[in-house]
Structure formats: C-alpha cells, structure tokens
Amino acid sequence: MTTAILDYRAGNLESVRLALARVGGNPVVTDDAKTIAGADRLVFPGVGSAAHCMRNIRERGFDRVLADAMRTGKPVLAICIGLQLLFDRSDEDDGVDALGLLPGRARKFAPPPDDPLCKIPHMGWNRVEYVAPHPLLPEGGAGDYYFVHSYYASPAWHSPRTVHEPADGREAGAVHGATEYAGVAFASMVGKGSFFAAQCHPEKSAGDGLALLERFCAWDGSPC
C-alpha cells in the first residue's frame, strides 16, 4: 500500500511526506510513471505560480496521470494549488488553462471595501465548515486548518449543497468545506468521485490535518 506524492518541482514536498509517513501512508515522492501507476493513491501537491506549475505538470505527463485516475477511480488528494489546478482556469499569471477536471476557475482575493488593510495572501489558521459529508471528514461541524494562498477556487456550480450539471455536460463536483476570508466564503474542500481536494495544508494542520490524511490513506475512493 503506497502513496505516490507527485513530484513536479512545485515547492517542498518533505512536509507532505513526513505527515503521510506519520499516519502510515507509506509515501514516496516520485515523478516515475511506473511507481505512480503502481501506487494505491496519489497526492497532488503544489506551491508556486499556476503557469509554472502547469508547465511542469504537462512536461511530466501528470495531466494524463490525473485524468486517468479520475476515470479509473484511484484515490487522489489535491492540496493547495493542486485544488485550484483541477478546475478549468486560473486567473493567475494573466490567465492559465488548468486541468479542467472540475468546472470553474481560480480567482484572486481582494481586500474588501470595509477592510482595506486585509492581508493578501490568506495566511494562517482558519475554520473549515464541513458543509457536505465526505468519507475523509468528520460528520458535520468544523475543523481548523493552515492556509497560504492568494487565489481561491470558484466552482461553476453554486450552492455548496447542490450539485448540478454545468452546461457543457461535464459532471460537477461538490463543495465539502467552506471557509471565509476577505469577505468571500470560498470552497476550501472539494470532492468529485475518487478526488478530494483541500485548499489548506493538512500536513501542517496538526490534529485535524493528520486525521484527514489518515482517512485518506484508508479510503478506497468511493465518494460516500
């Protein structure tokens, strides 16, 4: 039972590896196709700019790896910019085409009119309200997680609880976690099939984060 952490030179993966090792996930940081194909689950991490990340993802063929995982139902945990890049587009770097596995796009936070000194990036611990059940989350309630990001995913479907088909016929996902910052309630946790994505960093989120990783390592990829 191994967990492959996709290595595309997007920031530091040691923290993710250490946390997965702690919860018994048997992690390996790799860009090797055979190792990835043989892994039981994938972690799609990421730090850095959207354009830089997408270039490295395509160079290594990870766009196909992720599309295949979605088709075959292999469990995938996307973290931080990994979540944003699952969507169609990101507004970062003057607009970047992303993976298109979820309908929607990543937009930038802006200080709200009533709080012009509001810091961007959103950095620190914030509350995730568990707005829809998922096997990786406790039932109901909320958890505290560490965030660092300036862009957030804006799914093309609307209400967190309603999953409806976007116009182009692709299956939408579901928002499982919602968090507030800079006057926006954004999708901090998203799921679709065997994919679960977190804008926060579970590997840096103490007890709540380790619990999520532990559930991921025991998950068979079925959405409920």
Binding site: S15, R22, M123, G124, K204, A206
Partner: protein, 257 residues
Amino acid sequence: MLMKRLIVCLDIRDGKVTKGARFAGNVDIGDPVELAARYYREGADELVFYDITASAEKRPIDIDMVRRVAREIFIPYTVGGGIGSVEDMRGALLAGADKVSLNSLAVRNPGVLADGAREFGRQCVILGLDVKRREGAAPFPSGCEVVVRGGRTPTGLDAVEWAKRAVDLGAGEICVNSIDADGVREGYDLEITRKVSEAVPVPVIASGGAGTTAHIRDAFTLGRADAALIASMTHLDGVSCRDIKRELRGMGVPART
C-alpha cells in the same frame, strides 16, 4: 475568520534551546527535539528554529537538528540562522522546514529575497527584521534602525523602508523583532510593529518582549500583528500555548483551540 497565530521560537546554541535578554546572558532551556514535540502537543500554531550562533561562527545551520525537529511537528515550521544562499534555503526546506527566515543575508544581498521567492514561492521567504530604537535620529523616520548579527551591527536602514523594499523584492511575511524589548518581558514594541504592519500587504509577526497574555493581545490589537512570537513564556514560565490561547479567546482574540 482568520485566527491570530501564536508562534514559539526556539533559539538554538550548541545544540540546546537557549534564552537570553537583549540577545545576551543566555541560559540553556533544554533539548530542541523534545521541546518542539512538547510545544506542538501543547497547541503551538507554528514553530521557529533559530540557530543563533551559526552566522557569527560562519558555519551552516545545524541541518541534522532541523530534520529531527521536522519529524516531530505537523504545523508550519520556520528555520533561520546561518542561511547564506539560495542553496542553503533549499537545504533547509528539503530537511522539512516550510519557511526560511533571512536577516543578515537579505541586508547584505537583497537579491536573495527575489531569488528565494522565485525558486520556492514568496510564502517560504520571511524577512527577519531586527530593529533598534533610534529616537530623534533623522535618517530613521520610523524611529527604528535595522540591525544585524544579533543586534551588534547597525545597517543605516530605516525599519519601515527596508520592510517595504523587502516585500517588493519577494518577502512573503515579516517578523519584526525588537532588540530593545527582547527577553525583557515588558511587552512588544507596538509602535514599530504597527508601522510595519500598516506599510506592507503581507502578514507581520510581532517578536521580542512578551511576558503576559495581555502583551500578546496588544500586539494583535494595538500592534496590528497577524502573529505573535513567544519564547520566555513557554521556556521559563512553563505556560502552555493552549492556556495562553484560551486567555486570548477570553479577551476577544480569535485563536485556535
């Protein structure tokens, strides 16, 4: 709502956590790995590992100890001291750190802030802003001068001007550390903390001077800090972060349970 962060700082000297006052008169507190694990369990939101003698001794940071601490804690982890290049930054991150704090190096070679941000992302690059009060001195409109080498060497830079420039270059967070207040436990320098926080769009950490929970609250309210760094309170008084944050919540400050 974004919560205010409580960060514990481990100053390391000769393989031990140490604590002094105004960067002198240090006493040993204990083993870094054991203390890191304890502070993690006791609810610290973040941890800083500072190899305080590496720069003066012209040696690299104790990377083996950075690694051993990283295995124990699953919260953001900043490393500083003895970072001399982008390659040193990479070494610290590969050893399990999430952010690197740059002080002397950034003053000597500001381009490293840009190089580090491009290579690892701005969120990895913290400017350690050590400041000393220079009341009434004309070249320092903020009232504070930037100092390096543990406060021993003045730089001629104004604290706020340098903070703004560092953010333009690539710093993603700024730790404002008052040398005058360090270890004295009479409260943070709220004035310079607030000036820096209002001048830059990135998060600011107040550092130096915490003795009571009220001091920490003041750093967040009057000082407009996003995070507060403590050392003496946990090292010498044995207070837990969880207890401090419970008090903070009682004072109306949003803090993680």
